[in-house]
């Protein structure tokens, strides 16, 4: 009771502080104030500001977003539609299609023949969720995840749809979700960037990714996603020249600091002192990051869990393992992109390969986090930028077909971090074309992710050129049903 009163008092002061702050300080980059080692000149006001966020008790502390770039078909993964098999080759009824606009790839088609999944489905776990045969490992963790079958988006092409998912707007130079969280919550680890990005590519038809997807937009550049590569330089420019030992590097940095100190004496510019700190931080990163990316010390059981691919740098499996390590070390937002999900044709063959590349490691990540007791505080998201049409792109052949882009209904899954587990949310019609129950718009999804992180999506705003921007643009409702 006493504790409650105390907390209420603290919260009251925080609220008061925040409201005072919003009047005076304006658009300070919050996150930059939260990683003391990264930035200089921390004032009392900034110190207090750290306490202002989160807006309420967070369920999740960190996010790992497994983005399936190219848009995996919901009809071959989580949205089981036997009706489509029954009606194989029949025309998509006008009444179902309604006013849906089509991409230029199928807009010219004279016929829209329905096509059912080539894969077998079965029901798993306590939720009896339908999952297709190409995701056997995901089926194994079904009681730990929440499948959302009723996602919908505004965009019908990859670039705008990806940009929409990541930044809340289809076009424009807005901050990415990870940048927003870096800005709002900072990093838990002062030696690692708050927002880290890992890329991989599968064997299916791919679409590029773009570094604007992890751009800081109008936020300070300290909030941009830092891309980890699979080369010997995991973070750009991290690696010293071969002949430069740690002690030589130390010596040089000390020497630079001694010179900068003289400059400080002359100019008295706080930026000089800040620069000296940045070199110290860089020095620490040079040790911390390689330790992080080194998976040679991982036990056999972990390698087995993620699969042998995890030993091959740059694969999705290796990135999942690295994501766990980064997240475990306090990286606020780890963003993976896995390319290759754009099956306009040859879907039954390609999607099997894609699934093979990601299924085991995605499930392993959940299991691994769970066994470490981290799943409760880590939100994991798996999904693409839109869904795929229930009709065939081009001609249906025996055992082969393709699907075009479909924004009206698609599936993703979420796990951990305060999301209900063992649940299937939302429903689509028997054609898998329209949502019939509990639609979740991209902005709703974003609002929910922020909510789980303790942030009110309407309150975390940044004023840029006169306008207060937020991740969810001008809409978005927290989907309370998804929250445990």
């Amino acid at each position: 009771m006493e504790k409650e009163i105390l907390e209420e008092g603290l919260n009251h002061n925080r609220r008061k502080f925040l409201s005072r702050l919003s009047l005076g300080v304006g658009s300070l980059a919050l996150g930059s104030l939260l990683v003391p080692d990264l930035f200089s000149g921390k004032s009392e006001a900034e110190e207090a500001m750290m306490n202002a966020l989160p807006h309420f008790a967070p369920k999740a502390k960190r996010v790992i977003y497994l983005f399936q770039n190219g848009a995996p078909s919901q009809l071959e993964s989580f949205d089981y539609k036997p009706e489509l098999i029954k009606r194989m080759g029949e025309e998509l009824p006008e009444s179902i299609r309604g006013t849906q606009r089509l991409t230029g790839m199928t807009a010219g088609q004279s016929s829209f023949p329905l096509v059912g999944s080539n894969y077998k489905f079965d029901q798993y776990g306590e939720s009896r969720a339908w999952i297709s045969e190409v995701f056997p490992h995901t089926a194994g963790i079904v009681d730990d995840i929440c499948i959302v079958k009723s996602m919908h988006t505004d965009a019908i092409n990859h670039d705008p749809a990806l940009t929409f998912f990541q930044t809340g707007a289809q076009v424009g130079n807005r901050p990415s979700m990870g940048s927003w969280l870096s800005y709002g919550l900072g990093s838990e680890n002062s030696n690692l960037p708050a927002f880290s990005v890992l890329l991989s590519r599968g064997r299916g038809n791919g679409q590029g990714v773009y570094s604007k997807l992890w751009s800081n937009g109008f936020l300070d550049a300290t909030h941009q996603g830092v891309q980890f590569s699979n080369s010997e330089d995991p973070v750009l420019y991290l690696k010293d020249p071969e002949s430069m030992s740690r002690s030589e590097r130390r010596k040089m940095i000390d020497q630079i600091a001694a010179m900068n100190d003289l400059s400080m004496n002359q100019f008295n510019d706080p930026e000089i002192a800040a620069k000296v700190k940045q070199y110290e931080m860089a020095y620490r990163m040079q040790t911390a990051v390689p330790e992080m990316t080194d998976i040679s010390k991982e036990p056999e059981s972990i390698i087995k869990l993620y699969g042998p691919d995890c030993l091959v740098p740059g694969t999705y499996a290796a990135n999942c393992l690295l994501a766990r390590k980064l997240s475990e070390s306090g990286v606020r937002f780890v963003q993976l992109y896995h390319q290759g999900w754009d099956q306009h044709g040859n879907l039954p063959n390609e999607m099997r390969l894609q699934a093979e590349d990601v299924d085991q490691a995605s499930a392993a990540l959940i299991t691994d986090l769970k066994q470490r007791g981290l799943l409760d505080e880590t939100l994991v998201i798996w999904g693409g930028e839109f869904g795929r049409t229930n009709y065939c792109q081009g001609k249906i052949q025996v055992d082969n077909y393709g699907r075009d882009h479909h924004p009206r209904a698609f599936s993703i899954w979420m796990a951990g971090g305060g999301v209900k587990s063992g649940m299937v949310y939302g429903e689509t019609d028997e054609f898998g074309y329209n949502i019939t129950e509990n639609p979740v718009h991209v902005h709703d999804f974003q609002a929910t992710v922020l909510h789980l992180m303790g942030i009110d999506h309407e309150r975390m705003t940044y004023k840029h050129l006169g306008r207060r921007y937020r991740l969810t643009d001008v809409s978005g409702q927290v989907v309370k049903d998804l929250i445990a």
Binding site: L236, P241, S243, M259, D404, G466
Partner: protein, 770 residues
């Protein structure tokens, strides 16, 4: 605006700043009692705009209770549901509903409503109270009233030109005094970086010395202004505004050829083309009578935005997107207004209706441009309409284009349809929701579009460069000020609207803008005017008083210390090492870049799927010539806060991060430059003291102090010992970069000197304009 109005407006401005820059802890009552007359423009409008206009402002569709506070008529009106009550009754607090609502204890009554996440501070409430008591007078928005020259504040011994008279007045009001003049070598470095983006060589430093010889500071400026580096330096700013890049931007992101436009910009700045002509050509060069190819090339300004080559897109969706981008770029980059907010609905803060947005849009909606011209497999280096440049052009009117190849060049430029394409207001800004048809025009709140002007881009250019246009000259003068002093007189250089920052020196801004117009929009003259001022020539030393009174240096009682932009860091490193290849223009180059950056993010299609690094001279060009692939912009530049060129940007942020330290320590370009300079210095001097001192002077642009000398020397000796003891490390240290490593340079002294030079490149002072 009439002359007395300005004066009144300005007189209050200084008081306004006391309030808005004050520490929140200070009591609001004291501050408010200092204000004799509350000003709408400087005290009240910023509050109303930020906290009230979103629901009670220009946007008719979102207006609550049909009540608006952005106009006098709206504010003085009777309440809709209770005509006996008034929104605001001038001079009468009791009968002013606004006052009751902003002070209400009842959360249901309180304005702004708690759920808006907005709230008024005590100071703001007190200001509104006092304003109502004093008669609640409205004033037109300062930036939408044409600037006039106001009388100059007095001259003193310190003032050199008009800038100083305004600046001194302001700093004196703040209790600040100007810093002493910077040392001559500091001025030489500062002016060189500001005007050319290049450091002065030791020879230049020695030639000008302390300006006591034949060569004056003015001679220095004249020399720098006539250096071709001037155009290159200025072009960086313009490339951000015109969102220049070398690729199409969306998805597969294939190559395009817009660089001849970049070369034209460099050329125009170097030729000192007047600013009004500079923007007229870019907006409407193709519509000028007997337009030549150079004038048409300039219109590439409006074709630098992204183009999709993603299969399956809807043509009209993207054609509209391109017109939106043009509209937004011209509004933000040239007029300093955020028109884009009116794309989906009436502007929430500024008096721009959605109709006016599409009237502006209509100017750009009449080109033969297409939304989609095929996917990456059909990609061409330019898209319709195209300007073809052949050998004859290159030796004639287009001789400024640096192109050795004999093939024709193609550039995406503007063109006009014979028959006007109708423009409609788009509901919610969506391409397939046209409503009411509109004609080309400009926002009337800025300046009415005269009846006698052509209703096309040429008419728009004339409107924009008219003497009476309140924004164009102010915005450009402010942009130049921002470039030199680190922040504009209006800090929000891209937003002169209601939500923008107020000018710190309104009289100065207006004086400079009018003077700029009166002198033929002469850019080099403007730069020289700024650089000859005493304000500019102050030392950058920061005193405790500065940190206490004016940490942001708003009042300019010292020169700023600013980290160089990414491009100029590259320039400084290459120039000081002697590696820089000073060639103007030409196709963009691909210098060293960490492996796999493009490859990791590509779809695998198009010629930019893999990064093919250039060789030889192309490794040593100035930073602005680096190839920019939009979906994966050069990482080093991004780490140093460059624009990603996705949109028009007017100014960059300046961060200080560990990633920057890593670049400076490990970038092969810097290591190579250090190696090459070390080799040269050791060869020429054969003696460490002289070699270190000369290197330092080339890089930091001044002589070493004795303390610095001892630090660097002892580091050198330490390193020399290291390499003598570990001779195997000599070659491995020196083997960096593609510049040939000669046998004569492989020795422990050069290796040790290289480490010293790397550390000099890593000094804060090296990459800081101070």
């Amino acid at each position: 605006m009439t002359y007395p109005t300005i004066n009144r407006l300005l007189a209050f401005a200084c008081i306004g700043f006391t309030i808005f820059s004050c520490n929140q802890k200070e009591s609001s009552e004291i501050l408010i009692s200092e204000i004799d007359q509350v000003s709408y423009n400087f005290h009240i409008r910023p509050i109303l705009s930020d906290k009230c206009f979103a629901c009670h402002g220009p946007d008719a569709n979102k207006r609550e209770s049909e009540l608006r506070l952005d106009t006098e008529a709206g504010a003085y009106a009777a309440l809709k549901d209770d005509p006996s009550q008034f929104v605001i009754k001038p001079g009468n607090l009791e009968e002013s509903t606004v006052y009751h609502r902003i002070t209400s204890e009842d959360p249901g009554e309180l304005m702004p409503p708690p759920e808006s996440n907005l709230a008024l501070s005590e100071t703001e409430i007190q200001l509104i109270k006092k304003w109502i008591e004093q008669g609640a007078k409205y004033e037109p928005h300062w930036a939408f009233v044409a600037p006039e020259k106001s009388p100059l504040p007095e001259e003193t011994d310190w003032t050199t030109n008009e800038i100083d008279r305004f600046a001194l007045k302001k700093m004196t009001e703040k209790g600040l005094q100007p810093n002493p003049e910077a040392k001559p070598h500091e001025l030489i470095k500062r002016a060189s970086l500001d005007l050319t983006g290049l450091p002065p060589s030791p020879e230049v430093l020695d030639r000008f010395g302390d300006f006591s010889g034949d060569l004056t500071y003015e001679d220095l400026l004249d020399g720098l202004l006539s250096d071709p580096g001037f155009g290159e330096k200025m072009a960086i700013i313009w490339m951000d505004i015109s969102r220049y890049s070398d690729s199409y931007g969306y998805q597969d992101d294939n190559i395009r050829t817009q660089w001849p436009y970049r070369d034209w910009v460099i050329h125009a700045f170097n030729e000192n083309m007047s600013y009004d002509q500079f923007i007229t050509w870019q907006l409407a060069g193709d519509l000028l009578p007997n337009a030549n190819k150079e004038q048409i090339l300039a219109t590439a300004f409006n074709r630098n935005h992204k183009y999709t080559e993603e299969g399956g897109v809807i043509d009209e969706e993207y054609r509209i997107e391109y017109v939106l981008d043009k509209t937004n770029t011209v509004s933000k980059g040239l007029l300093g207004i955020t028109m884009e907010c009116a794309q989906c609905h009436d502007h929430k803060y500024d008096p721009f209706s959605q109709k006016e947005y599409y009237e502006m849009f209509a100017f750009f909606n009449n080109t033969p441009e297409k939304g989609y011209q095929g996917d990456v497999s059909q990609s061409k280096p330019a898209k319709t309409p195209i300007l073809w440049v052949d050998q004859e052009d290159l030796s004639g009117v287009m001789s400024f284009i640096n192109y050795a190849d004999t093939s024709k060049l193609s550039v995406s430029v503007m063109g006009e349809l014979d028959e006007q394409r109708p423009t409609y207001i788009l509901d919610r800004g969506v391409y397939d929701a046209p409503t009411v048809e509109v004609e080309p025009s400009t926002p009337s709140s800025i300046m009415k579009f005269p009846d006698d002007l052509e209703e096309n881009r040429l008419g728009l250019a004339k409107w924009m460069t008219a003497r009476e246009n309140p924004l164009t000259a102010r915005v450009f003068v402010n942009l130049m000020w921002q470039e030199i002093f680190g922040q504009g007189i209006v800090k929000s250089a891209g937003d002169f609207g209601m939500q923008g920052d107020l000018p710190t020196h309104p009289e100065l801004l207006d004086w400079l803008a009018v003077d700029f117009i009166e002198n033929g929009w002469d850019i080099k003259r403007l730069m020289k005017q700024i650089l000859t001022s005493s304000t500019y020539k102050q030392s950058a030393i920061i005193k405790d008083k500065h940190l206490k009174t004016d940490p942001e240096n708003l009042y300019l009682a010292r020169a700023p210390r600013l980290r160089l932009p990414a491009e100029n860091i590259q320039d400084l490193v290459l120039a000081s090492s002697g590696l820089l290849v000073r060639k103007l223009g030409g196709p963009s180059v691909k210098p060293y870049m960490p492996e796999g950056i493009w490859e990791a993010a590509t779809s695998g299609r198009g010629v930019l799927a893999t990064y093919v690094q250039d060789k030889g001279d192309k490794l040593y060009r100035r930073g602005l010539y680096n190839f920019i692939k939009l979906t994966v912009p050069p990482p080093k530049a991004i780490i140093f806060d460059s624009s990603n060129r996705d949109r028009c940007e007017i100014g960059r942020s300046r961060t200080n991060t560990p990633l920057q330290a890593l670049v400076m320590m490990n970038d092969p370009m810097i290591l190579e430059a250090s190696r090459v300079l070390a080799g040269k210095m050791w060869e020429e001097n054969r003696e460490e003291e002289k070699a270190i001192a000369t290197s330092f002077k080339r890089i930091v642009c001044r002589d070493l102090t004795s303390k610095e000398k001892s630090i660097l020397l002892s580091y050198y000796e330490d390193q020399l010992e290291r390499f003598k003891e570990n001779p195997d490390q000599i070659v491995s240290s020196l083997s960096v970069g593609e510049y040939p490593l000669e046998e004569k340079n492989i020795n422990p002294e050069t290796a040790a000197l290289m480490q010293v030079i790397v550390s000099i490149y890593n000094l804060e002072e090296t990459i800081t304009k101070s």
